[in-house]
Symmetry: C2
Subunit: 110 residues, 2 copies
């Protein structure tokens, strides 16, 4: 549905949320740990995680008092397919990806 492209692209448009996704690429994380490197309130991060969840880009599972966040990479597939229709992008270039990932991480606070 077109609506999912709306929510997915909107979710990806924010650098904080992209940084969170990059962090979750490493491993699943608790909400508090996700928030730790950012200079904003836990409530703000909680909202970002809600947006990512509604977009289907992550899933959150509560175990005890800790809510774990994990990447749901399949959600990006539809958007990726949509974009690829606009050009014959060369097959996945991992070097280029590493570079983009680095600039993304650079934009997140230490």
């Amino acid at each position: 549905m077109a609506n999912s492209l709306d929510t997915i692209f909107a979710a990806l448009a924010d650098p904080t949320r992209r940084a969170i996704l990059s962090m979750l690429l490493e491993d699943d994380m608790a909400v508090t740990d996700v928030a730790e490197p950012f200079e904003m309130s836990l409530a703000a991060i909680s909202k970002h995680l809600m947006i990512l969840t509604r977009a289907g880009l992550i899933a959150q599972e509560k175990r005890g008092r800790v809510k774990w966040c994990k990447l749901e990479p399949d959600a990006m597939k539809g958007a990726s397919v949509w974009m690829q229709g606009f050009g014959q992008f060369e097959p996945v270039n991992l070097d280029a990806f590493e570079r983009f990932l680095e600039t993304e991480l650079d934009s997140a606070p230490e």
Copy 2:
């Protein structure tokens, strides 16, 4: 630069703008012709085209009093590479793309 991912994803988050990009996939178009199928003012479409231009997704060239819009598919490449890092998406599936394109066009007015 991370900023371009911001502007590209934000530009793609709006269904009107995605519909415009799909239209330009067919052929270059004048601003007035881009606006024709939409139920909103020319000024609104002009703003959408500005956003797409600033994101680098289209280019506009004025010839006489007509301003032509053409797709700049390369701009999506960085974003596409970024996204592909999150999963091993199968190589471009044109059938799937056609389906997504159709749902996109369905969401645009006739």
